[in-house]
């Protein structure tokens, strides 16, 4: 309760400083709109449905792209952690491609898939897969070998060993990898939405880009706020339960 209060007070203070800065009149309100103007834009966009629609479109792309990315990255990460062959091939490919900022996939996606939903998903998947793969790989490698040995003596081999021992043992790393993957997916999607104008859906990134074209700074800042809030909420909703679960079992992060 006390901590919630501290968080709320801190953000109110930030908004207060912002308000004072605009009220001082030193900066033009076209470049720096007041909190009230941004609030007004957000309220209007909520009421006419354009904001809700954009959030829906964006979240749909994000969830589908992320799910595909994890579904590919997780098993590949387990694979590269066990086999030297896959480590040298897929592992080094992943290492290389992870350094490529995901916005660099946009031109290729556009030429391959045109201005379609597929191009958008492709960029998100490429942004997610490699970091999930690498985090899972690291996780599976850091499992104390004694777990696998204990499991083998108790008659756990092959598939059973993988699903009942290796995967749960690497869960702390898998979860942090998935969290990192989520951040990457979110970034790539925003990049893609800003650069790719497509007709099948109008996402948050496009709303942001539109704000720039119209020089509507209240819209630009308003959409940025929405993007941050969605990122925060998703992080809490998707990963906090997992992290609490891990802390309870492993006895980590206790105060």
């Amino acid at each position: 309760m006390k901590r919630t209060f501290v968080v709320a007070a801190f953000f109110l203070l930030l908004i207060g400083i912002w308000h004072l800065a605009t009220a001082s009149g030193r900066w033009s309100s076209i470049l720096l709109p007041s909190p009230a103007m941004v609030g007004e834009y957000l309220w209007g966009a909520l009421r006419d449905g354009s904001l809700i629609e954009a959030i829906k479109v964006t979240l749909r792309r994000l969830l589908i792209g992320y799910a595909i990315g994890v579904a590919i990255g997780l098993p590949l990460g387990l694979l590269t952690s066990t086999s030297e062959f896959f480590e040298d091939t897929i592992g080094s490919l992943a290492l290389g491609l992870q350094t490529l900022p995901s916005v660099c996939w946009v031109p290729l996606a556009l030429l391959w898939f045109g201005q379609t939903e597929t191009a958008m998903l492709f960029v998100v998947v490429m942004g997610t897969v490699w970091s999930v793969l690498l985090a899972t790989d690291t996780g599976a490698r850091t499992i104390p070998p004694i777990y696998a040995r204990a499991a083998r003596t108790m008659g756990s081999e092959g598939f059973d060993k993988w699903t009942r021992v290796i995967l749960p043992a690497s869960l702390p790393f898998v979860v942090s990898g998935m969290k990192q993957g989520w951040a990457f997916a979110w970034r790539s999607l925003m990049a893609a939405e800003i650069f790719v104008t497509i007709l099948t859906g109008f996402g948050l990134g496009q709303l942001l880009q539109y704000g720039r074209e119209l020089s509507a700074m209240d819209q630009v800042i308003g959409v940025m706020v929405v993007i941050v809030v969605i990122g925060l909420v998703a992080d809490k909703a998707l990963f906090s339960p997992w992290e609490r679960f891990l802390h309870r079992r492993w006895g980590t992060g206790l105060k």
Binding site: P144, A151, G155, S156, R249
Partner: protein, 270 residues
Amino acid sequence: MSTNDSEPRASPPAELVVESIDKWFRTERTTTHALADVGFRVVSGEFVCLVGPSGCGKSTLLDIIAGLTIPDKGRVLADGQLVHGPGRHRLVMFQESALFPWLNVFNNVMFGLHRKPELANRERRVIADYYLRLVGLEKYKKAYVHELSGGMKQRVALARSLAPDPRVLLMDEPLSALDAITREQLCYDIQEIWQRRRKTIVLVTHDVREAVCFADRVFLLSPSPGRIREEFRIPLARPRDINSAELAHIAQRIMVALKGHLGETHEAAE
């Protein structure tokens, strides 16, 4: 530890034969001769301890008996059957770190039982409960591993390796990480449990007292390469007190012998 209710069926303890084992470890830079011509026989139900300084290959030997490592020469026979891989009849009680943190105490004990298809789920639960009572942890069924003390973890490890009813139990320094009081208690408990659920046990340790406390016979190993140097019969009555003067006296004698063998090895190396 009061358990007079129906005890689970116990398999007869196995006879174990270790025949002239040799093991080398090769890396790109070095070749280590870990074990040289190690051989001994353990009669069924006997408690045997292997003592030696670190690096004498005792853990490797335990792995070989468990079937986790394949020797370069020699073989292991359990009840006349050649050991060529891990098997449920030879379970290892690893050090506490081998318990699974993602499972609670009860499910850690259930892990091996789940891999015995001939048991029904109800039977598995009855067996797990029995062994948790045997080690005195029935109140901690739902606890997670990190919530237990070092001694309690060792008890869970003991229950987990006893539950699938192996014929041979292999122990890797079960007492070494514990404080003096916990150590004395667990030492009594392991002896009592062994009297009640008779198994063939091979224990490796660097702690001579720990070995003397449990063993019918103690084998002395010297390092590089690991070799059995001497064998001691321990005639003390059970249960033994790990802190008794009598036991300390025997431990002292073995210690002197061990130092003598270490001296020889060093001279040979020079």
